[in-house]
Structure formats: C-alpha cells, structure tokens
Symmetry: C2
Subunit: 402 residues, 2 copies
C-alpha cells in the first residue's frame, strides 16, 4: 500500500499548475492615502515636465551670469509666486528654494556667498559663480508624458511621491481577493477559554492570516469545521459562495477522518493536484471551484501549513494580482543540511547579512513538523532540491521569508 | 559668511541625540487578529507543555511495541477525543493525526504499512516499526512556563501561531505614536485640482506617510502651511497640541522665508540640533516640545526629506517603540561612488541578491536632490562616510530600504 513517488507532483510542477490556474482578482481604484504597499495596476505618466520650471535650488539671489560682482536688488521671487523679471545686468532678485527662476536670470548665488549693504549684494571676494549654478533646469528629470511607473510594482514611498507630484489623487491597484481560512479538526478549540488535555488551540488560522496581512492581503475571514463530512461540506459550501480563495488547514492526508478532499469533490471542486514531493507539506491539495474559486488545502501541522502558505499560496496570489517581483532571493547556507533523495526540503533558517554583504542563513531544523514554537525565532526557510548526501555549508539556496 | 563644518553634527552624533530624546509611546493591548506586524511589548510564556500530550503524527493504528505483527482493533482514538486505552498487547486503536496517544500504547503504525481483514490489522511483510515512532512526545518542544517570545520582536506569522497556541487572545504591543506631517511652502498645491507653472503638487507628505505606514506607523495626520510666520506658528501650535511626533518638510534652510525654526522656538520647542554633515539632508533640524513631543524638521527637497525620514525618523521611532532589530543591513557596492571629504553621502541604489547570496547594490545617484522621479526604481539607499576619493566597487556599505 505504500504510495509510489510517481503520484507526487514536484515542487516546480505544483507551482506551474497553481500559476496556470490562479486567475486575476481585478482592479481597485483607491485614494492615494490608502495606496501604500498596494500593487500598482496602471501606467503612471508625467503630468508635466519635471521640474515644471527652471527651479531655484538655494536661497540667495538670481543674477544674469557675467562679469558683474555687485547687484542692486529690486524685489523677491518667492516660491509659489508667478515669474518675475530682472530689470538689468547689474540687478538681482532675492530668490527662495523652490521658486521659479526669474526671467532674464540664469544663475543663483547662495546667501552664504554674499555680503549686503542696503539694496546692494556683493559677491564674496575671490568667489566666482558658475553659469547656471543652483538651477534645477525644467524637464531635466522627465518630460510631460514620460512613463514614470509601470504596473506590477509595490507602491513604496518614492512611488507615492511620483503619483502625488503628477496629480494622481486616485490610483488603480490590484484588488485583494476575498480569502476564507478554514481549519478543520475536532481537537481544535478557540484561543480563549478552557482547553482539555487532548485538545489544542486554533493557531494555524492566526499564522496564515498574519502572513497574508503583512503582504497586503487583508480581506480575510476565519472559520472552523469539525471532523464530520456533513459539517465540512456545509462550511465549505458557505465559504465557496462568498470567497475568491479558500485556504484550508487539516484534513488532507489519508486517514479515515480526513474529509476535506471528499467534501471538495462533492461540491464540484476540480482537483488540480494532491501531494507534492516535499517535506514538510507533502499532503497539500489544490483545486478550482465551479465559479473559479481557488482552493488551497494545506496539511494541519503548523509548520507544514505555514510553509505551504509561504511557498505556494502567497506568491501565486501576488502573481495573480499582477506583482512582477517575487519576494524570494538567493542566500548562502552557513551549515550543512541533509538532503532527502525523493523529496524537496524546506528548512527554517535565521537570516543575517554579514560584514561583506553576504546573505547568510543558519539552518534551524524543526524537531518535527508539529514544532512551531521555535519557528518564531527564524526569519523564513530555504528550499533544497531532492538529492543524495547533504547541501554543504556555502551552498546557495532560495530563501522565502515568513 | 560660509558656515564652518564645526557647526554640523555628524550622522552618528545626530542619531545618538535623537535616540537619547525619543522617549516611549506606551503599550496597546490588541486582539490577536490585529497584531500582525506590531512590535511585541510583553514576554510570552508557554501555557502548557508543547505538545500538551503524546501526539499522534500519522493516521494509522496505535500499538504497544513488541513482537506482535497482527492486531485486533477495538475502537478509534480520534483527534479531539478524551484519551482511550489499549486492552491487550495484540490489540490496537485506530488513531488520527493530532490525536492523544492511547494509554498502554507507545508506537504508531501508518495506515500505508498495514493490511486489514475484518477487525484485524497486519503489518506489511518485512516491515518492522521502530519503538515510539510517529509520536510527538509531550513537552518535547517546550514546557509549561518556558519563555517563547521576548519583547521587541515584530509579530510575524510563526509568532502569531505561538500566541494563539498559548491562549493569548489579546497581546501587548507597542502603541503607534500619533504623527503629524506638516509640509510648508507657498509653491505647494494639492494633488487634485489646477496647478500653475510656478507651483508644484504636495508629494512629500504622501511619501513620508507611505514610508511610515509600511512600518506599522499608521496614526498619521497631514497638514500644510504657507510661507508665513504666523500661519506656520498657528499650524505648529495645533499640531503640537494633538501629536506625539511632528514631521515637517520644508522651511529649515537659511532663507529669509524659512520660518520653521523660528516658529518652533516661539512655541518653546527646544532645539537639539540643526544641520547634519550629510548630503542630501544637511539642513535637518530636531527638537523637543514642551510636552515632550518630538519634532523632526526635514528639508523640503523630496529626496532629502525621504532620505532623512528613513535614516533618522523611522528607526528612532521603532527604537522608541521597543523594536530590537534595526532594519538596516550591510550590502556590497557593484560600482564606485565618489565620496565627499566633509559630508556623509546617502546614495539611492537598486538591491539584488546574486546567485551566490551576495546582497549587491547598483548606485543610482540622483541628478539633484529635487529629482525623485527616478527614486521609484530604487530599493533604498546606502550610507557612505565622509572621505577622499571614491568607495570602490566591492566596498561594503550599510543599506536602508525605502
């Protein structure tokens, strides 16, 4: 009765099958103040030249560059005021940082380089301004219509500045799918209240929801079902009717009380795959509901559930939302990790960047797939392919953060 | 009139002076579902042994280890049910993953290793179970009262699982300070609506607010004041009366219309320092209000304002909130950057981890401190000390992300 390895999908196959089936959740138009961290879904163009005018970069005076060393001041060009004008080559205007450069002037002399007597400003002895200095020339950063941001980026602080500067009071971002998290198991009781010796508190849903929330996936609803086929069908039917994505934990291995695959089949959910050649997380199940809902059924073990969530669920949802940059990156092992001939391995690690800039990770293998207490001292996990022997210290591996 | 370098604080001095004055904003007790990404402010202890019982790790049968190879089944030990008991050495109980191990048994045989005839389970020919296999022993992960989480960590997914599993329905986290962002300048107009040639849209506040929000600092209020001393005093007075922290952009350099330092002095704000030996961001100002409010007055240039925010404001607020781990880390330059003899330099970079795990950065220097359009294609900036010549490719530098 031992299952042959041929029934398992590889990590790459599973990832491909999910990506081919994960769809799109559409676009939201949100106020700029609510866009931080969201995934951009439109092109952003320059509303105007940037800077939109020859912009004064220092407080001082605006002059026409030449041999004159003393200037009669005849007014002030403040930031935010319409453009003024020099009246003669030996005249100047007081200017403030951010002001438009007065017509007839081409150069700014900072206040620190000047001495003043009544209405007359004189250059510091021995100081010669460079022509055009301290002027941020119109259109030197970009021109009207230039593409400034492409879809797929996560909106960080500089991107928000670009949006604001170009008049985007509202911005098109990826809609967050509605996600239902359903944990199953008669042994699970709420976080609050009494707990019997043979019971454990419901913790997976908090870990999964937290992982999703920190990635901007915030539309999350949590439910629970006991180890009963009818109960499981009822809970799933309700969840399928309201959510784009279901994440289930528990009930997907071979036991007689693992009702989840059976309940999903009864509800017409098409199984795309069941079981991946990996440890932890081998029993993972993925399918598509009748209305296109994506169903990720993860093992109930806390380490397995969270690892599968970070390895498959989060990246595929972000891809579906149009994100272009995967969050994973390559790191270097600082200690050996035994490989498994037939299974990919995911091993919790601590990450640090050493004094030379190397992203080094220290493996912190769990004693069992149920041991999650120690995971909170780790930063994520590395992924190692199936193989003989060990991945030695110094081996490069892909890192996924919690 | 040229200012001597002796009046400037170094980057390290500025950082120390801020840290010594940044205070604490207290503690919030929040529901677990709202704790993701918050900074933990309490110790978290194990409510029970973990696992709380000898826990079955596979679906199968529970037996007493010995020479017997065929077992009479007399019931089921389901997950979530009170503990059962083996009646004899050749008896077994059906068990499900997560169940408590029945009394009298010590070993689990997975369903895949068994054949069944009526009420009799037989081991696969040639298969010998190991004593104690597939049992996750009580207290093997931790014991009641063990410290599982220390204050100062940012609550990630595994930490949320630990909290839930140990009955923490509410958790003490750092309170987010109330932050007022005030930009000043007559040239600034709203993101929406008409804009004249000599005006620019208000973008700094969006960048600063976005940077704070992605770090969990979400209690943010935005305001604006024109270049007028009374107007600035009024706006600052209002902001000081309601916020723990003020972040100002603009109005801190030497010009006659830079009212911010004067207005702050009138309002009794104690100046801790003004100007740092750095580019960009030299005019930065920091002070403490009469009720202990922290006031960061940043230059108005977008690149300067955002760089100062990420270099000083965000890290000091997170430290004040009890966060233990700074977000900065060391990276390696992939191209040379000219140094400045008297000023530290902050240079925007793109970050990538190469195939060996090296965190490499490509310098993307801004053409001027007003050029922020190109910042959106960068990941953060590196910090280089004052010096002669250049930092060559291969030099290690501290990286700060946007």
């Amino acid at each position: 009765m031992c299952r042959s390895m041929a029934e398992l999908s590889s990590v790459a196959q599973a990832e491909t099958m999910i990506r081919q089936n994960v769809g799109d959740f559409g676009v939201d138009k949100v106020l700029l103040g609510q866009a931080s961290g969201r995934i951009l879904r439109q092109r952003v163009m320059a509303e105007r030249d940037q800077p939109p005018y020859d912009r004064v970069m220092m407080d001082g005076i605006a002059i026409r560059h030449g041999d004159v060393r003393s200037f009669h001041i005849h007014g002030t060009q403040r930031a935010g005021a319409p453009v003024g004008r020099l009246v003669a080559d030996d005249s100047c205007l007081n200017v403030t940082t951010g002001a438009i450069l007065p017509e007839g002037s081409d150069t700014v002399v900072p206040i620190e380089r000047l001495s003043q007597q009544n209405d007359q400003f004189s250059l510091e002895p021995g100081y010669t301004p460079e022509a055009g200095q301290f002027v941020h020339a119109r259109a030197s950063d970009c021109r009207t219509g230039d593409v400034l941001l492409e879809p797929g980026i996560r909106l960080n602080a500089p991107a928000l500045a670009v949006l604001a500067a170009n008049g985007y009071a509202r911005v098109e971002v990826a809609r967050s799918p509605s996600i239902g998290i359903l944990s199953t198991g008669d042994e699970l009781v709420p976080v609050e209240g009494p707990v019997q010796e043979w019971e454990i508190r419901r913790s997976n849903e908090q870990a999964l929801a937290g992982a999703l929330r920190t990635r901007g996936l915030t539309d999350i609803h949590i439910d629970w079902a006991g180890d009963d086929l009818d109960d499981t069908i009822r809970a799933l039917e309700k969840a399928l009717s309201v959510h784009d994505v279901l994440i289930l934990s528990g009930g997907v291995s071979m036991g007689s009380f693992d009702y989840v695959p059976r309940a999903l089949e009864r509800l017409g959910v098409e199984r795309i795959f069941h079981k991946i050649a990996q440890r932890p997380g081998k029993p993972m199940w993925f399918g598509i509901g009748r209305q296109g809902q994506r169903i990720f059924a993860l093992p109930g073990n806390p380490v397995s559930a969270l690892t599968c969530c970070m390895r498959y669920v989060v990246p595929s949802l972000l891809t579906a939302m149009g994100a272009r940059t995967p969050e994973r990156f390559t790191v270097m092992l600082d200690a050996a990790i035994p490989l498994i001939p037939t299974l990919a391995r995911f091993v919790p690690v601590r990450l640090r960047h050493d004094a030379r800039g190397c992203a080094c990770v220290s493996p912190q293998p769990a004693s069992t797939s149920g041991d999650f207490s120690h995971l909170a001292t780790t930063d994520g996990f590395v992924e190692l392919p199936p193989g003989e022997g060990s991945a030695s210290a110094g081996t490069a591996a892909v890192f996924h953060g919690w």
